[in-house]
């Protein structure tokens, strides 16, 4: 591997305050009980800011503000709502470098990804749904589709601003108002988004941001003033939310975990497949619900493919997220690092063979080298449980039927990949995979026009595209 000189993106483009309040009714406010938590840069463990921890009274206020704002916002002509969203999209484009650096600082993801993937998709998502706001009658949900009311939205830490966009853009386009809780370890980009809303002169109360930990989110989704709940996160928490919502009449959409199979047939172009495998599992440190975390490779090419994959893995650069050459950044938190470490140790203990390229990890911060396990069986925990880290489990198969059987042998059903040069095989396999997104000869592609969401225990409802409107229409 070539030695590259450090090429860090400048942090001077972003100005992080010492502390942040809650964004309620158009203003930043201190939490009622004054409690705060710290958010750290996972690459250095440096404290970035102190952030308010919303208690029950704060959430009550946010929901009340959203309720008050709903009357006016839902009554606005769609074309006017659209213009607010177009403004937001434009401001995000203008501030995209600042927001990308901020996201990499708070989340640990490589600047290459926050700059080239997250931020462009965030702006595109607002731009896409802005255009729907005055065309809802043509969306196929009846001649006079109505908003639901106040949406309580809880999002994860892996794509903080992108998940915010997936939640807020369709909710606002359809005339709902929102109370959003960002993840505890990555609250900053949502708070910067609050400032974007102010710059766009969005009416107060239409978007409210309440920061806090799990109990803040639990209180929000259980709040009687919330009409619609949207959650992205783990399947375990998703089940809990579904139980909470049961019997209340609240609408619910869930985008949960995954354990995607990435199937490589013997006629696949090996170099392209290797790039796809690397992108599938090491993109965003593997903190991706749709990550291709189970590689199913046809037995006859397993050795050749694994040799290529290992060679490619030795060229991955792990380190400073702000360095423009970094491929793999920091693990988002100590807790997530502990989970990845634990499951990887179990993988070894259960008999799978572990391999990582030699790579020097920084001394401070949370890091995990890209890792593959070979000799994995379907019974191994690393083949069944979502690791949510840069860890790939490799299994083999002989026939297409066996590949499909193994791919579907999971309670999850979010995504899958298939690599082959044979078109008819792609279509037949894609038909049989029980997953909401199938990437054929590609992986981890996203677009605001493309519906995303899971089968089975990966959740229900779709985000993106025309389909994504349904979750926010009565």
């Amino acid at each position: 591997m070539f030695e590259y000189a450090p090429a860090p993106e400048s942090r001077s483009v972003v100005d992080i305050a010492d502390s942040y309040g809650l964004f309620i009714d158009g203003d930043f406010a201190s939490p009622k009980d004054g409690s705060v938590f710290k958010t750290v840069n996972p690459a250095t463990e440096e404290v970035l800011a102190e952030v308010a921890s919303a208690g029950t009274e704060d959430v009550d206020r946010a929901v009340a503000a959203a309720r008050r704002a709903f009357t006016g916002w839902s009554a606005l002509p769609g074309a006017e709502r659209a213009k607010y969203l177009f403004r937001i999209a434009r401001i995000i484009q203008e501030r995209s470098r600042e927001l990308a650096v901020l996201e990499s600082l708070d989340n640990g993801k490589p600047i290459k990804e926050s700059r080239d993937v997250d931020l462009p998709l965030v702006a595109a998502h607002f731009f896409y749904y802005a255009g729907w706001a005055d065309k809802l009658a043509y969306a196929g949900f009846g001649p006079d589709p109505r908003p639901i009311g106040v949406a309580g939205q809880v999002i994860p830490w892996n794509f903080p601003l992108l998940m915010l966009a997936w939640k807020i853009a369709p909710a606002l386009a359809t005339g709902n108002t929102v109370v959003l809780k960002p993840a505890e370890t990555t609250p900053l980009s949502a708070l910067f988004f609050a400032d974007v809303c102010r710059q766009a002169e969005l009416p107060p109360g239409v978007v409210n941001i309440v920061t806090g930990a799990g109990d803040t989110g639990a209180y929000l989704v259980a709040h009687p003033g919330v009409d619609k709940v949207a959650f992205t996160g783990s399947t375990e928490v998703g089940r809990e939310i579904a139980r909470t919502v049961a019997g209340t009449g609240k609408r619910l959409t869930l985008e949960l975990g995954g354990k995607a199979a990435n199937i490589v047939f013997d006629d696949a172009p090996i170099d392209q497949a290797v790039e796809g495998i690397v992108n599938g599992i090491f993109f965003n440190q593997g903190h991706v619900c749709c990550a291709g975390s189970r590689l199913l490779v046809q037995e006859s090419i397993a050795e050749e493919l694994l040799t290529s994959l290992k060679r490619r893995m030795t060229t991955l650069r792990v380190g400073d997220p702000l360095d423009k050459n970094t491929d793999i950044g920091a693990i988002n938190s100590a807790a997530q690092l502990a989970r990845i470490t634990e499951l990887s140790e179990i993988g070894g203990a259960e008999g799978a063979e572990r391999w990582s390229p030699a790579c020097q990890l920084p001394e401070r911060g949370f890091w995990f080298a890209p890792t593959i396990f070979t000799g994995v069986t379907q019974a191994h925990r690393i083949a069944r449980e979502e690791i949510f880290g840069p860890v790939l489990s490799v299994l083999t198969f002989r026939t297409p039927a066996e590949a499909v059987e193994k791919a579907n042998n999971t309670p999850y059903g979010l995504s899958a990949g298939v690599w082959t040069e044979k078109g008819s095989r792609i279509l037949a396999i894609a038909d049989k995979l029980r997953a909401g997104v199938v990437w054929a000869n590609t992986f981890n592609k996203f677009d605001p026009a493309s519906p995303f969401g899971g089968y089975k225990e990966s959740g229900y409802g779709r985000e993106g595209g025309r389909h994504g409107l349904e979750a926010y229409l009565a």
Binding site: A242, A246, L256, D447
Partner: protein, 293 residues
């Protein structure tokens, strides 16, 4: 009309009116045994239990029957989903034909003629959806890159249904589930009507296991289906008690089943059902492929 009156007279097993005291018919009628419908067959409840409804002994399904029905539904699901949409539509249309042919039986059970009409028409309506719903709910997505990207609906899988009373209600919950390629386990109210409808399905080219109908007390069996790990969706349209509906929805959360909630004021089955009864039981699959030479 005369046929219906005569039909009613045949049905009565005990003298309930002076009419039955009239001179005995020339021959003794052969009564129907009301059994369950599982996997295309008509078994008794494995529990051996029956209960009396309007003078008939009707099978009282147990939780084991419910589980057996899930096994049958699961086994039938890939084949049914894999049938062409054209084929599924024709099978549903055939169900309508068979129902038309059995109007008198339903009339004899007290189902009003206009309800039978509506049930037949609803089946024909849904039959036509089989090869159209994918065009209405799916399609190409214009993504910002050199990719072919297409979304299409697929069946959720096995659907457990707590059905409402009445022929039209029953048809209105079964048809949207099966026309979209799902298979069903139906907990029926009004057992004689449900079992007679099962006979319609059994004679209509509907593969065994696609529709399974259990008679009995849904409060007893529904919780087992709500928490069953091999059931993908739960339709609670027929649940009358709010609290029970909430409990069943909570149980369904354990495996994140798709849930159709009972509507607060009851459902008007004579109204246009719209797409939701189908779309709630469909998953959207989106496939990406690069474009290039």
């Amino acid at each position: 009309m005369a046929a219906r009156v005569a039909g009613t007279a045949w049905r009565r097993t005990l003298p309930k009116s002076t009419k039955a005291m009239e001179p005995a018919p020339v021959r003794l009628s052969v009564r129907k045994t009301y059994k369950l419908y599982i996997g295309g067959k008509f078994p008794r409840s494995e529990s051996g239990r029956t209960f009396v409804v309007d003078g008939d002994n009707v099978a009282l399904a147990s939780r084991k029957d419910a589980r057996d029905a899930v096994v049958a539904a699961r086994a039938a699901q890939p084949g049914w989903a894999g049938a062409t949409a054209y084929n599924r539509g024709q099978v549903l249309y055939r169900v309508a034909e068979m129902l038309e042919a059995r109007r008198d039986e339903f009339a004899a059970l007290g189902v009003p003629a206009d309800e039978v009409d509506a049930a037949i028409d609803r089946l024909v309506w849904y039959a036509g959806w089989s090869d159209k719903i994918a065009q209405v709910t799916g399609g190409a997505n214009p993504v910002a890159g050199p990719f072919f990207n297409i979304s299409a609906p697929e069946p959720t899988g096995v659907v457990a249904v707590v059905a409402p009373a009445g022929l039209l209600g029953l048809v209105s919950v079964i048809a949207p589930a099966v026309v979209t390629g799902n298979t069903t386990v139906v907990l029926a109210a009004g057992p004689q009507v449900a079992v007679t409808l099962a006979e319609v399905f059994a004679t209509s080219d509907v593969p065994g296991g696609v529709v399974n109908i259990l008679t009995g007390k849904y409060a007893e069996t529904a919780p087992w289906l709500a928490s069953h790990a091999d059931v993908n969706a739960l339709d609670l349209t027929g649940v009358e008690q709010r609290e029970l509906a909430g409990e069943l929805e909570r149980a369904a959360a354990g495996t994140l089943k798709r849930v159709i909630r009972p509507s607060a004021g009851g459902t008007d089955f004579t109204a246009d059902p719209g797409l939701r009864p189908m779309t709630t039981l469909l998953e959207t699959k989106t496939v990406w492929h690069p474009k290039g030479y």
